[in-house]
Symmetry: C2
Subunit: 422 residues, 2 copies
């Protein structure tokens, strides 16, 4: 199980204050477990890991295996929760550079760049392409446009285009069900009781992740194990994370930076950004969630973090035992100032950079927490996913908001549709 | 010249207030022009565009041409200002997917991932590799480690390794000059009066950008033209941007989101993040700079932007006339709800998404500004770079800080070096 270190929040929050909200935290936790809070009809993300559907997992793996055998590229068409979770796990667990093992996983329908779509079609030309379109309603504009462009293009190129397209959508409703009926696409269901940002452990995330060659059983059962542990006791890191964030928010901190120290984990921070921003950022509440990658961004945001307006808290996401990569080699010739590091793994230096940062930022007035996993693996990421989901549900209840709706996202869409003359 | 639309800030800032700081803005502008403000020994980023060195540009282009002819990969080793500017311009102006034209540009030394370095070496194996190491002191830890690893690796593989390595560093001081002397590396100079985050129009940025096949003359003279225009009059968009941000900061807004609507411009936002965060984020001042990409992040941060804590301002960076990409095609079969868009370019939909967002977020309590360029081109990006540089210099003076230093970044380094036993 992951560990939470809150030592660098102690100068900012007294143990008395933490104690004083203990009962509120426990009742928020109870509302999650007992389905008695606002939006409790959307707690399916808990049910699904508490009651694993192994037949569904096997079915997804079988489809993914076919894709891995036959595809050069799998294009995943989706946005928001139909995109960020899959990307997060895939980037965390696949190599940085292209390999010959299995299909390349590309994304589309995650923005409105016409130039991207055009270049994507050129890039796909001559390749064996599969497509997974992921949308509950089928009408979200970005994936709907990309799917129209791509299925039109595929129909002209593949006799078996219908077999190469998989839809992940609502059980019965929505435009994708109509299209699927007409073209015979294979289909996976997005449960009604799981919101987009909580859907990575449904077929929404599992099919792309499995097609990338990642063991989705391990991912899923990592989450299931965390769900058991975090549900069974109240002295657990998810509740502690929720409580501390809440108190700092109450004290006027406005921004939470989630900082990873491995570039592969950056997309986890982007997934977290949606999970927390969309769950808590309502009715004038919530910490603005900012995703950063250290040490890269220490060389851009480090000055602000150390010495800017004191309204920021920081959460580090760390591997205790990361892949060491390589050791710093001995070299001949003039000194470059690194002799004291010869033979040390680069990961050792990265670890010390993290420790130095946590200490310096705390000294500079930034309360910070550290979430440590053993090493990024499917099981550990599953556990981390459930941890954040549970924490944000409790956090939403502490703020007295419904953590499972997102009423604010309709405003720009209405304005846009009006401008488009829909 | 770019345009600044401030209409959606008017409900938040009265024209009286803007008028009342006019003289302060003009004197900050005067301090930049006359080199009379704090840190004025670091105003070389203005001098260099006001007095173009064409011989240097030609020399850089000649080196870049050799790299383009002979390299499969150019690895650029640098971090912070020695990385973000080049990446920003290269990503904005090169295709999304790999091509056969010219070398691939990769980065290293921009974090401490041992796994990345190891996989990078594997990926480089068998390829014709050139390397540009960019560091003023030569002792910044991330690039120093990556450079040691990479030059060690190159020495074992290339008889002409010394000809394949180019250093961009201080004129005379620092470890890279010693190494260069011993190995005969080609060298470009980082001027003493230009700080890292202002260095993209020095060899720091220009060599990688030129090696990517981008016309650095156009980039440079785009900036030079903007420098002339923004220096010659006080009713200019850089001063207006600085003034409005300052007043909103004074009113308690804590965070500025820079939102692009084309994924190719995302790295421009990351470059901006360093420029503004490091220049203003000191002595308890500054807006926290957050870089986002819409419409992607409307599906993660949109809820917060519309309806979360009202402490956020937003700046949109828009192309008035973007590459249209492709038009939405007509298709047979069941309706997918997009018939009203058939024949329209995707860029048209993206434009309306921007307009709808600006309107909805203003209605929701987020003051927002729009910076419009005609289209992302080398010249327009040069102009944009100078615009932001000038604006942040003025903005720093309004906050009464030195916009050109970064004293806070030493704290974590000291803590780290102590932990490393240096």
């Amino acid at each position: 199980m992951l560990e939470l270190n809150t030592e660098n929040t102690r100068p900012f929050i007294s143990s008395d204050r933490l104690g004083s909200i203990k009962s509120r935290v426990e009742s928020a936790h109870g509302a999650v477990l007992g389905k008695t809070g606002a939006g409790s009809e959307f707690l399916g993300w808990r049910d699904l890991v508490l009651n694993p559907n192994d037949a569904l997992l096997e079915d997804i793996i079988a489809t993914a295996t076919r894709i891995r055998e036959d595809a050069d590229v799998l294009v995943c068409v989706g946005i928001g929760g139909s995109y960020l979770g899959a990307r997060a796990v895939i980037e965390a667990l696949t190599p940085f550079f292209p390999t010959d093992h299995g299909p390349e996983i590309l994304f589309a329908g995650h923005h409105l760049s016409g130039a991207y779509l055009k270049q994507l079609l050129e890039y796909l030309d001559g390749k064996s392409v599969y497509l997974n379109v992921i949308s509950k309603s089928g009408t979200t504009l970005e994936p709907a446009i990309a799917f129209r462009v791509l299925r039109h293009w595929m129909a002209e190129r593949f006799d078996d285009a219908g077999d190469r397209i998989i839809v992940t959508t609502d059980a019965t409703r929505g435009k994708l069900n109509e299209l699927r009926g007409a073209h015979g696409y294979r289909k996976y269901v997005i449960p009604d009781d799981v919101g987009g940002r909580f859907s990575v452990l449904t077929p929404v995330g599992l099919l792309p992740i499995s097609a990338a060659g990642i063991d989705v059983r391990e991912l899923f059962y990592g989450a299931a194990e965390a769900a058991k542990q975090l549900s069974s006791r109240v002295d657990n890191p998810a509740l502690e994370y929720a409580a501390i964030r809440y108190l700092l928010h109450e004290d006027g901190f406005t921004t939470e930076v989630l900082a990873v120290f491995e570039p592969r984990l950056s997309a986890i921070a982007s997934w977290w950004q949606q999970l927390f921003g969309e769950s808590e950022g309502k009715e004038g509440n919530g910490l603005f969630p900012a995703a950063v990658q250290y040490t890269t961004d220490l060389h851009s945001l480090g000055q602000y973090m150390q010495d800017g307006r004191r309204n920021v808290i920081e959460t580090f996401l760390i591997e205790k035992n990361p892949e060491s990569g390589l050791n710093i080699p001995a070299v001949d010739g003039p000194e470059d100032g690194l002799e004291y590091l010869v033979g040390k793994p680069v990961s050792h230096v990265n670890r010390k950079a993290f420790e130095g940062t946590a200490q310096a930022h705390a000294d500079g007035g930034v309360p910070n927490l550290t979430i440590s996993i053993e090493r990024a693996s499917a099981a550990e990421l599953g556990s981390l996913i459930y941890f954040f989901e549970h924490a944000v549900a409790v956090g939403g209840y502490l703020l007295d908001v419904n953590p499972f709706d997102q009423p604010g996202v309709e405003a720009y869409k209405s304005a846009m549709y009006q401008l488009l003359g829909k």
